[in-house]
């Protein structure tokens, strides 16, 4: 591609008229042409000034629209004023109280800050205002979504109570031995952020919830309890975390998270030290029996790609041609063959032992977007930007056949069933969620979900994963709400999340819902845990109880997640920064 062609493509892209292949070619050209990179910035800047200059009436109209939308929340504003006044009054009272109180007693804590409706309830159930002392036997309750309270103990431990939280200071037993004279608190519901000062060696602070017991010597952590579960996130130091139902106990260190709930095995998930790698990462994989991931790195399309062992940091060079900007990659189940698909519409096969090129699979008419190896080690499925899916015998380097254009270009990647006999394609048409193909005959055998004329909703699958037992299909979904006449899609009705579909009965249950895009879902090898890459959030869910086990965030976009074969490690690719983040999952 010449620079002039790249500029024309860029102009088309700015006018929203560029074909997908033109955009890919432009991206490839920019990687090797600094002058065009500068021109791209100039033209984007010019585009910005043109809109700021010419579309001013549009911006003014937009300001009126925003004014109208915000006005609807006016009543909320008046409520906020009410809360503010109440807060100011509460603060005044609290400060006065603190000034009057000259000597703190060991057995009291001060409510240093209160917002909204904050109550102190004594052992008899009598309610008082936030001016009451918080002493053993009493509870503090924050009532309402905007309520908050800060509690300062005499040993400088500080607890911040979130909205709708109930924290009780358990009364001491006068006859109990001194070892049990530790501070004991009960978080019935809600959330707290705690900074606990160093406790006497034999008197740790004990914090109990309906599902967990936390023993703290001095640290910083967040704890959230609901009727279903208790979730812990440790910021500094470490705490002991016990599941009250199973009596399992784990130690959770800084950066770690754990969840306790009935019928939930305790697991600690922590960000692995030095867990980030990149940029330039195009794919992340675990070889069989490997504990460390391999990263496929290509920083410039004109440069050779490398396959890096993130354990030993050893790397193998893959001599990729200059036109092969890698957009998709997969590792065969035995770990011996790596497939890469690029903007040049070709699939390259590589020997992972020495980086030798094993073959080229040609036939796609568009840039490669996805590659998936079948678990039985026989087949490679490939998908291009136009949504065409092809099946290959990658050992013989020959095409088995094409399934045609069976996926709309914006949907996720196909998934093989564990026996390799079925290929599920997400979002095959505007009125189907998933279509299943028999890999041997390449004929459709089933369709899941469809368009609901009653609600005028089109359910879209954005990613798929078969459970290891092959009985359930996890479907990342996006329901698009439509206008009353059904002619337009409206953002208000969008619903995103993950559904688990029982393939025998067709019944489905929602594992979770999220405001974010679900880019990728993956089961752990034992099928108990699901990793979900959801924009800037990376979530782990317990599949059976639908409990959130951990949630990590960054500023990029997580687009894929893989478990190590043993299920102890999880690696997620951040496609916006082309980096990998990793976590370790520990069971007691």
């Amino acid at each position: 591609m010449t620079c002039a062609e790249a500029w024309q493509n860029l102009s088309n892209l700015l006018a929203n008229e560029a074909e997908s292949a033109e955009v890919d070619a432009l991206e490839t050209h920019l990687a090797g042409c600094a002058a065009c990179q500068e021109l791209a910035v100039d033209l984007y800047y010019q585009d910005r000034l043109l809109i700021e200059e010419l579309a001013a009436p549009r911006a003014q109209r937009l300001a009126r629209r925003i004014h109208g939308r915000l006005a609807k929340s006016r009543s909320r504003r008046w409520r906020r004023w009410g809360v503010l006044l109440a807060t100011a009054a509460s603060l005044l009272i609290a400060v006065t109280y603190l000034l009057v109180r000259s000597h703190k007693k060991d057995e009291t804590a001060a409510i240093a800050d209160a917002q909204g409706d904050v109550q102190v309830v004594d052992a008899a159930g009598q309610r008082g205002a936030a001016t009451e002392e918080f002493t053993p036997g009493r509870s503090i309750r924050t009532v309402g979504d905007r309520s908050r309270a800060a509690v300062q103990f005499s040993d400088a431990s500080r607890f911040l109570l979130g909205a709708n939280t109930s924290l009780q200071w358990l009364a001491r037993d006068a006859e109990a031995p001194s070892s049990s004279q530790a501070k004991q608190l009960y978080l019935q519901a809600g959330s707290i952020t705690a900074e606990v000062a160093a406790q006497p060696p034999d008197q740790p602070l004990v914090l109990t919830t309906p599902h967990a017991e936390i023993v703290v010597m001095g640290t910083r952590f967040q704890l959230a309890a609901s009727t279903e579960s208790t979730h812990l996130e440790v910021k500094e130091g470490s705490v002991q975390f016990r599941n009250r139902a199973s009596q399992q106990m784990v130690e959770v260190n800084a950066g770690g998270q754990a969840t306790a709930a009935p019928a939930l095995d305790l697991r600690v998930i922590r960000a692995e030290s030095k867990g980030s790698f990149g940029p330039g990462v195009r794919g992340v994989f675990f070889a069989p029996n490997a504990t460390h991931a391999h990263a496929l790195v290509q920083t410039q399309p004109t440069e050779a790609a490398t396959l890096v062992d993130l354990g030993s940091r050893g790397s193998i060079k893959l001599v990729t041609p200059p036109t092969h900007l890698i957009r998709a990659a997969a590792l065969s189940r035995d770990g011996k063959v790596l497939a890469t698909g690029g903007t040049d519409k070709a699939i390259y096969l590589w020997n992972t032992a020495d980086g030798a090129q094993l073959g080229i699979l040609a036939g796609h008419q568009g840039s490669l977007r996805g590659l998936v190896f079948s678990p039985d080690g026989k087949t490679l499925a490939s998908q291009d930007d136009a949504g065409t899916v092809r099946l290959w015998d990658f050992t013989e380097h020959k095409e088995l056949g094409s399934l045609g254009q069976v996926s709309v270009a914006t949907s996720g990647l196909p998934a093989f069933s564990p026996d390799g006999g079925t290929l599920a394609i997400p979002n095959p048409s505007a009125r189907e969620t998933v279509r299943m193909f028999d890999v041997a005959t390449r004929q459709p055998i089933a369709t899941l979900g469809d368009y609901d004329p009653a609600t005028r909703r089109v359910r879209r699958a954005v990613c798929l994963a078969f459970a290891p037992n092959g009985k359930t299909l996890a479907v990342g979904v996006m329901d698009l709400g439509s206008s009353p006449d059904g002619t337009a899609i409206v953002p208000e009705g969008v619903r995103r999340g993950v559904d688990l579909v029982d393939l025998k009965s067709g019944k489905k249950r929602t594992l979770f819902e999220t405001p974010n895009e679900v880019w990728s879902v993956a089961y752990s090898a034992d099928g108990t845990t699901m990793a979900a890459a959801c924009n800037n959030l990376f979530n782990l869910w317990d599949v059976r109880s639908a409990q959130l086990l951990a949630e990590f965030s960054n500023t990029g976009i997580y687009t894929s997640a893989v478990f190590s074969p043993g299920g102890q490690r999880i690696a997620a690719l951040d496609a916006s920064r082309t980096t990998i983040d990793m976590w370790e999952l520990v069971k007691p």
């Binding site: 008229e17 955009v23 033209l43 010019q46 700021e52 010419l54 004014h67 915000l70």
Partner: protein, 186 residues
């Protein structure tokens, strides 16, 4: 409104964080055209971009408590807009170099006065485009018409409109650079 317009962005945001909706509208208002341009550059057309900016404003108002003092308001708004816009056009998330060009164009490294000077130079150069090319640029950017709609209005082929638009961009770029250079020499 006049009272609001005399207040600094920091003052407006402080009031907005306390729930003052009008202060928030006054604070976000100078950024709307930029947000519209930015969102359109990602999600393609003006109508979708307007929805993105409206949603961005609502989210920003709800999440003002997350705007920390050290964060630039415009940058923070762009972050919200980007998440909304990419949802509409997710494949662009994978285009690293194009995304980099977009971000650099909106990073506002130059002072606001320079941007005003450039905008004036651009306005002057727009008037120097030929009538036919000028109409294409006007209809696309002012009216928000897609190039296919512009082609239909002007009885041209889409390909011809694409080429004309490309030439207009290059002509505008050269013209603006020449004017700025001349101004610099003065």
């Amino acid at each position: 409104v006049n009272a609001l317009s005399n207040r600094s962005e920091d003052e407006l945001l402080a009031a907005a964080q306390a729930g003052d909706r009008l202060a928030f509208e006054a604070a976000i208002s100078p950024h709307l055209a930029m947000l519209l341009a930015y969102s359109r550059a990602i999600c393609g057309d003006f109508h979708a971009a307007e929805d993105v900016v409206q949603e961005t404003a609502l989210i920003a108002f709800r999440q003002l408590h997350r705007l920390f003092p050290e964060v630039d308001f415009a940058t923070w708004l762009r972050g919200i807009a980007k998440r909304q816009a990419l949802a509409a056009r997710r494949r662009l998330a994978k285009l690293v170099l194009i995304d980099e060009a977009l971000e650099l164009a909106y990073a506002d490294a130059a002072p606001a006065e320079d941007r005003d000077t450039e905008r004036k130079a651009l306005a002057s150069c727009l008037s120097r485009l030929g009538p036919r090319v000028g109409r294409i640029v006007e209809q696309h950017y002012r009216e928000g018409l897609a190039l296919a709609e512009v082609a239909s209005e002007l009885n041209m082929s889409v390909g011809a409109v694409k080429v004309a638009m490309y030439r207009a961009r290059m002509q505008l770029k050269d013209c603006v650079q020449a004017l700025l250079r001349r101004k610099g020499d003065e």
